[in-house]
């Protein structure tokens, strides 16, 4: 098998006693859009800084096209990067900012002019060469930063929460631009964010970071439909968790017993656990429905309605289980039960057997 384009091989980084990343292992294909998703302090940024060369890993290696780049200093790695904050050079015009990487490489004047023009055109800032950064909006500044990072055709483009300083509307607009630029240039992008929506919108694949480790790598739909861990299930999409105890475990399926003795049998199980251990049942709110009677075995629970909130195109129903946990159920506008359900009703929540997941809790 040929070696991967970019190989993050068992990276570990410690600051004193604090472990920032622990054996991060990831292979990225050429032209792929890979997002590191996770809460702050999960090690995603540290991994990016190690790629950029701002920090040296305690252990592990990073290989680009089969060759280690760890011994190459930052300025010779040829890597492009867009930062969280606006990092345009304040004393240089937009054109000179974009030309900077070419000037330090002593490129000929004609080539610089042509490449700057092309890069600015790529980010749709044609004709902005003479503008000073201070006179531009945050969104425009980040586009210039993007042009500056792409002007020397880097093998990898790193983006460290580049949109976090922008407001929501502008953020969506530039996300769109980033997708287009990725498709047009085919550059390999490593993108760091803590925003799951942004990750889902932009990425080919997502690596979910938690506590310095990668919990799961996969496409957005894969992560959503079959999360490997409790953390991934919780971090991506809305989900409801019902806590209970494992009654029996066999070949990837489990029986779960709740506090009032209710048992759900034969649910897909993730992670390792044995009978008697604690576990939770995860359900996506849009995959649950309300019904008068029970459904298939192991795929329904009796509930009492606590509250109904009308939200326009849907209503959110709070349903209390027999042992006191509360589940949210969404009723879309026009659903036959909308307007019928009332506080105090005794009903059932039901779901398709493959939509429930059990995660062992450690």
């Amino acid at each position: 098998m040929s070696s991967p384009y970019l190989h993050i091989n068992g990276i570990r980084k410690t600051f004193g006693d604090v472990v920032a990343t622990d054996h991060v292992e990831l292979e990225i294909a050429e032209g792929e859009f890979m997002t590191f998703l996770g809460p702050s302090g999960s090690g995603k940024s540290t991994t990016l800084y190690i790629l950029a060369g701002f920090q040296d890993p305690t252990a592990g290696d990073i290989k680009l096209r089969g060759k280690s780049i760890l011994q190459t200093p930052s300025h010779k790695r040829q890597i492009g990067m867009v930062f969280q904050r606006y990092t345009l050079f304040p004393h240089l015009s937009v054109g000179e900012n974009v030309a900077f990487p070419l000037r330090v490489r002593r490129a000929p004047q004609a080539e610089i002019a042509a490449k700057v023009k092309r890069a600015l055109s790529l980010v749709r800032l044609d004709g902005f060469e003479d503008r000073m950064p201070a006179k531009m909006s945050g969104g425009q500044q980040q586009r210039v930063a993007l042009a500056r990072a792409l002007v020397y055709d880097p093998p990898v483009l790193l983006m460290d929460e580049p949109l976090s300083a922008l407001d929501k509307k502008l953020r969506e607009e530039i996300q769109h631009e980033i997708r287009r630029i990725h498709q047009e240039t085919g550059v390999t992008i490593l993108y760091v964010t803590h925003d799951q929506e942004e990750a889902l919108r932009l990425s080919d694949r997502i690596a979910v970071f938690n506590k310095g480790k990668i919990e799961q790598v996969g496409t957005g739909p894969q992560l959503y439909a079959s999360p490997a861990t409790h953390f991934v299930a919780d971090f991506i999409g809305d989900s409801a968790f019902l806590g209970g105890e494992l009654a029996a475990v066999a070949s990837g399926r489990a029986s779960l017993r709740f506090a009032d003795g209710t048992v759900l049998a034969d649910v897909p199980m993730h992670g390792t656990g044995s009978a008697g251990g604690k576990a939770s049942l995860m359900l996506r709110p849009e995959r649950i429905e309300l019904a008068a009677g029970p459904g298939a075995a192991g795929a329904s629970l009796p509930v009492t309605i606590e509250d109904v909130t009308f939200l326009g195109n849907n209503s959110t129903v709070s349903a209390r289980t027999g042992w006191g946990d509360v589940l949210s159920v969404r009723l879309n506008f026009g659903h036959p039960m909308m307007g019928q359900v009332q506080r105090g009703d005794a009903l059932h929540v039901r779901w398709q057997p493959q939509d429930a997941h059990v995660f062992a809790r450690t």
């Binding site: 600051f15 702050s40 060369g53 701002f54 920090q55």
Partner: protein, 278 residues
């Protein structure tokens, strides 16, 4: 998050402070330490220099003069600086910028030139005496130089900017809505000033006052030109001991006392400033 970017590869960076550090060690710390050590070694080891300084009324009076002048200068500058800083903070920016230019020009004009002006203005036949006599406030010229009155006027002139500028910064940061709230609560202007504006500006006043007081304590040029030899201040005493009397022990002892008072007040100011920042 990005703050630890510069860690790792680039080393700790203290080497860049080395040239300045060595310069200050060789030509500031060691000389000052040397001077202070002479206060307990010359003419012979012991505390006799301090006993002389603190035991004789001649020297005690010099210290009292210094504290008196510094205190009065601080008080007068504070009384002038508060309304000026207040007005500067709220008046139209154009007029304020003119006033700032005046303040900065006087602050950066050569110290000797300014002191010279006051020597001429305050002399017996000077403009100030002429004005006072012309207005009928006095029948004969007043003695305004070679005494502490002259020193005080000259020092107020020099210290005023150092009080106005920090006070301006503090008042500038007060939210006008707080005073509108005070008015809505029924406070008259006088009450709002006394109970709201002044307490809010107090950290700035305290910080500016400490700075002016500390600077005044060690001032040399103005006291020696506008004051007389009979009304010495500490800085003049140190110079006189070292230059005219070549008594390094006494000079060092007086310098040590001045240094301790200065650093103690500086520490106090840092404290106040920190408390304000928090």
């Amino acid at each position: 998050m990005l703050s630890f970017l510069s860690q790792g590869r680039r080393g700790s960076g203290w080497g860049m402070a080395l040239p300045a550090l060595l310069l200050l060690l060789a030509f500031f710390v060691i000389p000052v330490a040397g001077l202070l050590s002479r206060s307990v070694t010359e003419p012979q080891p012991g505390l006799q220099n301090y006993e002389t300084l603190l035991g004789s009324f001649t020297y005690i009076r010099i210290f009292l003069n210094t504290f008196l002048v510094s205190g009065v200068v601080t008080l007068i500058t504070a009384l002038i600086a508060f309304p000026v800083a207040w007005a500067l903070a709220i008046m139209s920016p154009r007029i304020a910028s003119v006033l700032f230019a005046v303040i900065l020009l006087s602050m950066w004009t050569n110290l000797l030139a300014r002191t010279y002006a006051w020597m001429v203005l305050l002399q017996q036949t000077g403009l100030v005496n002429k004005l006072l006599m012309g207005l009928g406030l006095t029948s004969q010229p007043l003695q305004l130089t070679n005494n502490l009155i002259g020193v005080t006027i000259g020092m107020v002139y020099i210290m005023l900017p150092f009080m106005i500028l920090p006070l301006y910064g503090v008042i500038r940061k007060i939210d006008p809505a707080i005073l509108q709230a005070a008015a809505l609560c029924g406070a008259t202007k006088g009450q709002a000033l006394r109970r709201v504006l002044l307490p809010l500006a107090a950290p700035g006043i305290a910080s500016g006052a400490l700075m002016v007081f500390v600077m005044s304590l060690g001032y040399f040029v103005t006291p020696s030109l506008l004051g007389g030899t009979s009304n010495m201040m500490v800085a003049e005493l140190i110079v006189q001991q070292v230059q005219s009397l070549v008594n390094w022990g006494m000079g060092g002892a007086a310098a040590f006392i001045l240094l301790v008072v200065t650093l103690a007040l500086y520490a106090l100011q840092l404290r106040l400033f920190d408390a304000e920042a928090r």
